[in-house]
């Protein structure tokens, strides 16, 4: 592999210029903080001919209060800026908590919200150097014919490992997307994902994430994020869980749970609504944990075995939900 392949870089300063740059450079990759993309280019798993750097696109910047009292967070906002923003901390502390759990401080200086949500899926057989992958005949996700995680199938099980998506999902975030012609559309955050390690984003090659919109949280909403990783200071999640719940007296009034690291996309767990209207006792907690096995699919895509991650996910979900419920009292 060449150390760095040759590519051109465009640096638009507005959405209109971004649209023009995309038209002039079909197939260009968007470069935000580069903490995922440049590492992948250096490993030879992405070889773009053109890059479009988003840093100067004005429409992607800034955190603004919306008329509904929520926040619009530009996709180009860095995680360091997100963590330092008092409005985000005051209104959506789970976003700050999850942002804090991403990589290390020096990555967060440039790592962006958009890059975090559009992070490539990861696997021990994929995020390796060229010679490592070549020695293994590559893999289904890049240049190879088989998935080493599930050699008999034709599916890629690389895992989505971004920390912010579950935190935003339990808050009911919506995304603003700009398409090739510069027109914008909105959808719920879970709708941009699909559970396929080869192509986990439902965005087209010409789409660009513009911003995340958060409406004000329901009064009394408690939120939290918990993550398991190999090294506490820096690593991607082996599993991450975000919880948002409300309590009405002794009863659970609302519950949303979202996961990362378990599948090729972040998951908003289905069925939690059936648990509300009763206290969060041991039985309800087991029913909650019982929802997980059918929805999650951790595979041997990390250094830890899937069985371990299944246990970790169940434990993180159980302890975080129960802590949030107690704190909501």
């Amino acid at each position: 592999m060449e150390y760095m392949p040759e590519f051109t870089v465009a640096r638009p300063s507005s959405l209109a210029e971004l649209v023009a740059a995309r038209r002039a450079n079909p197939g260009a990759h968007l470069l935000a903080g580069g903490t995922d993309l440049v590492a992948n280019i250096r490993r030879g798993i992405v070889a773009p001919e053109h890059l479009i750097e988003l840093t100067h696109v004005a429409e992607l910047q800034g955190i603004a209060e919306t008329s509904s009292g929520g926040l619009r967070i530009g996709a180009g906002v860095t995680l360091a800026a997100l963590i330092e923003d008092e409005r985000v901390e005051a209104t959506f502390p789970v976003v700050v908590e999850a942002a804090h759990a991403v990589a290390a401080a020096s990555h967060r200086e440039v790592a962006t919200l958009g890059g975090n949500l559009c992070l490539d899926t990861r696997c021990v057989y994929y995020n390796q150097s060229e010679w490592w992958r070549a020695a293994n005949d590559y893999c289904l996700k890049h240049r190879g014919k088989i998935c080493h995680v599930a050699p008999k199938g034709d599916h890629c099980f690389a895992a989505f490992s971004g920390d912010l998506a579950p935190a935003l999902m339990v808050l009911g975030a919506t995304v603003e997307i700009a398409s090739a012609d510069g027109k914008t559309r909105r959808c719920a955050l879970p709708d941009i994902y699909t559970d396929d390690g080869l192509a986990h984003l439902r965005l087209t090659a010409d789409d660009c994430l513009l911003a995340i919109d958060l409406t004000p949280p329901e009064p009394g909403l408690r939120t939290g994020y918990a993550k398991a990783r190999v090294r506490g200071a820096i690593d991607f999640p082996l599993a991450g869980v975000a919880v948002a719940l409300r309590r009405c007296g002794a009863d659970l009034a609302e519950l949303r749970v979202a996961l990362t690291g378990t599948n090729s996309c972040p998951l908003l767990i289905e069925g939690t609504r059936d648990l509300v209207g009763a206290p969060l006792d041991a039985d309800t907690l087991e029913r909650l944990v019982g929802l997980l096995p059918k929805q999650i699919q951790p595979m041997s895509s990390t250094f830890t075995p899937p069985g371990y991650r299944r246990k970790v996910i169940a434990n993180l979900t159980r302890t975080l939900t129960s802590r949030m419920f107690d704190e909501a009292a």
């Binding site: 760095m4 392949p5 040759e6 590519f7 051109t8 870089v9 470069l31 580069g34 903490t35 440049v38 590492a39 992948n40 250096r42 490993r43 890059l51 750097e53 840093t55 360091a80 990589a103 290390a104 401080a105 020096s106 990555h107 200086e109 440039v110 150097s129 200071a233 820096i234």
Partner: protein, 157 residues
């Protein structure tokens, strides 16, 4: 490959160089400017050895395109000493044995420099946070953290 003119400031000196679009900031600093103090320790983003300051904040120069630093102030380990005297951080790493082979040290010191500029009296937790992405294979982190604490105390004195 087509080159473009990059204007920026390195350790206070304005520069103008013709660089290729795919040139990384670390290679620009080491190969074009000749400042080899900044080290490459991994294949991208894993170790922190390449940490420099861009506009006063830590940046992994191995994941940064040189041209993305246009118009910015870049600082490397070579810019820390003043008039032949080591900075408080450099002196403390020397005295407190925060450095053994020294390979990680430029990155450690630049990440710590970024911290103490904004937080002159950091807590141990803040030091651990700031250096979380910097890996050392010999010294052990206790001596490194003690070095940053000593430097901050010296600066406050």
């Amino acid at each position: 490959m087509a080159k473009e003119i990059l204007q920026l400031t390195v350790n206070g000196q304005p520069r103008e160089d013709a660089v290729a679009g795919n040139l990384l900031l670390i290679d620009y600093l080491r190969e074009v400017v000749g400042l080899t103090g900044t080290k490459m320790g991994c294949d991208g983003g894993e170790c922190g050895a390449c940490t420099v300051l861009v506009d006063g904040r830590p940046r992994l120069s191995c994941l940064t395109l040189a041209a993305s630093s246009a118009g910015r102030q870049v600082e490397t380990i070579e810019g820390c000493a003043r008039g032949g005297r080591m900075s408080h951080l450099q002196q403390a790493f020397h005295e407190k044995l925060g450095s053994q082979c020294g390979y990680c040290t430029p990155g450690m010191i630049m990440a710590a420099e970024g911290l103490v500029r904004r937080t002159p009296a950091p807590t141990q937790a803040q030091i651990r946070q700031a250096l979380g992405g910097n890996i050392c294979r010999c010294t052990g982190y206790v001596k490194i953290i003690e070095s940053v604490e000593a430097a901050a105390a010296e600066s406050a004195a």
